[in-house]
Symmetry: C2
Subunit: 304 residues, 2 copies
Amino acid sequence: MKIFSPATVANVSCGFDVLGFCLESIGDEMVIRKTDEKGIRITKIEGFDLPFEAEKNVAGVSALALMEAAKPNCGFEIEIYKNIKPGSGVGSSSASAVGSVFGINELLGRPFDKTQLTNFAMKGEALASQCEHADNIAPAIFGGFTLVKSVTPLEVLQLPTPANLFAVIIHPQIEIKTSEARSILPKQIDLQKAITQWSNVGSLVHALHTSDYGLLSRSLSDVVVEPYRKQLIPHFDDLRESALKNGALGCGISGSGPSVFSLCHGRETAKNVARAIKTLFSKTDIPFEMYLSRINTEGIKVIG
Amino acid sequence: MKIFSPATVANVSCGFDVLGFCLESIGDEMVIRKTDEKGIRITKIEGFDLPFEAEKNVAGVSALALMEAAKPNCGFEIEIYKNIKPGSGVGSSSASAVGSVFGINELLGRPFDKTQLTNFAMKGEALASQCEHADNIAPAIFGGFTLVKSVTPLEVLQLPTPANLFAVIIHPQIEIKTSEARSILPKQIDLQKAITQWSNVGSLVHALHTSDYGLLSRSLSDVVVEPYRKQLIPHFDDLRESALKNGALGCGISGSGPSVFSLCHGRETAKNVARAIKTLFSKTDIPFEMYLSRINTEGIKVIG
């Protein structure tokens, strides 16, 4: 069985640690086969250099978590074709973690629901980021926009996605460690800034429900985390200014970076934004990759 | 023209400074008459002892703000029949501020929209609470649940209200000054608590849109403000426990207190909650008043 496991954007400006959305045009592929022999074997990895031992591989660890709960009378072989570069900030480890559990669940006849799959995948994610979080996993599994209401117990809300929403992603090829991006955040924040942030989270959710692109734009603001993390991303302010000037609804750091997302109303606007960002970043000496994608409301899926 | 100007609940647990909802069964009444003589005259105040000079009266100040913008060729007389006790925490000053501007706007043929009326009323509110805020004014004017996305510029979002939602209010007859309730709050809060709070605000908005009473219940939590302010309200923890044990979806401080609200699914549950709270509070030596009200989706209105 062949799986498409999508890239995702976590945080989404105001929604630090809780919001995320799913991309359509970039993701990993995985092939999963049932075997008579029990256990998980990773038999092929293409694209990037990752460990083959199941216990040391994100996709392996999440698969093992599922196996422990399912105790099936069989095993699984996994082939991983990675397109999402590890450390890019668009949910590379989540895509791996999600792909194996989704595929195995399909082959077993779907004994687990999406929330349970999210829980298994979080075990894999924890291997990569040293903490269990679901803000990339949830949108990959549920599709569209998600809000992770709580992790213990896990509760994921599937939010509506306005029909005509596109994302432009730029991935500057620099390294930001998630742990570093976490450590530069203050442990305490101004109450006033927190109020601004939760006002924006509330209005962003309302904007998604009402397909109000203007309100969505006015809600895509991060007064808490971005002021610290943007220092880790060269030319972030110029990039953001250019995206907004060219019609983006909002622009922010994807996950803990270095990727930066812009949300746009309509494909034409997204193309304009992509063009402007490309022109701007081409003048720097930092190599980069770009993606333009509709918001993927389906999430992870079987493709063969 | 006779106006019913409703009481309101601000903050709504997780939504400190931004959320509010409107009540149906308690509110002030005001009678407003066009006069040839220019200016605002308050000719009658019943219920509580409040100043008659327009410049010192909340309803007068908000009316004067409207008059300055409208510059009408007439004046207005205002009679105020107050039912909402000042300082009760259910938007007494907001009801006054809103009543006069709503009534005058009606008599002038509605030159101003609801957001403009909110702006005028905030001038009156500022007289009472020393700061311009709209979290009681907005639900009184718009009805139902509101989210004040920003004050400058003013942007109010009207959120949907699930059909079968009731509030139980208990007003312990003690005095809490808004300024005191503000001053005990810390200027800085834990980032982790802020994340919990904005997760709850997001899920509360989603719960209102989907009429998901269970999610509404799980979202009605305040980890930021309530831990400080509840000390000002005797027996708060017992009261909350009793409300939840008797089926309330949530229970929290109304505005800056001392009133406490419980939100309930259905009138029968609300009655049970009211009964339990009444029994509990009757054992204390603090006098109190109680109200049971459907959520008022209409807001302020002409009643004669």
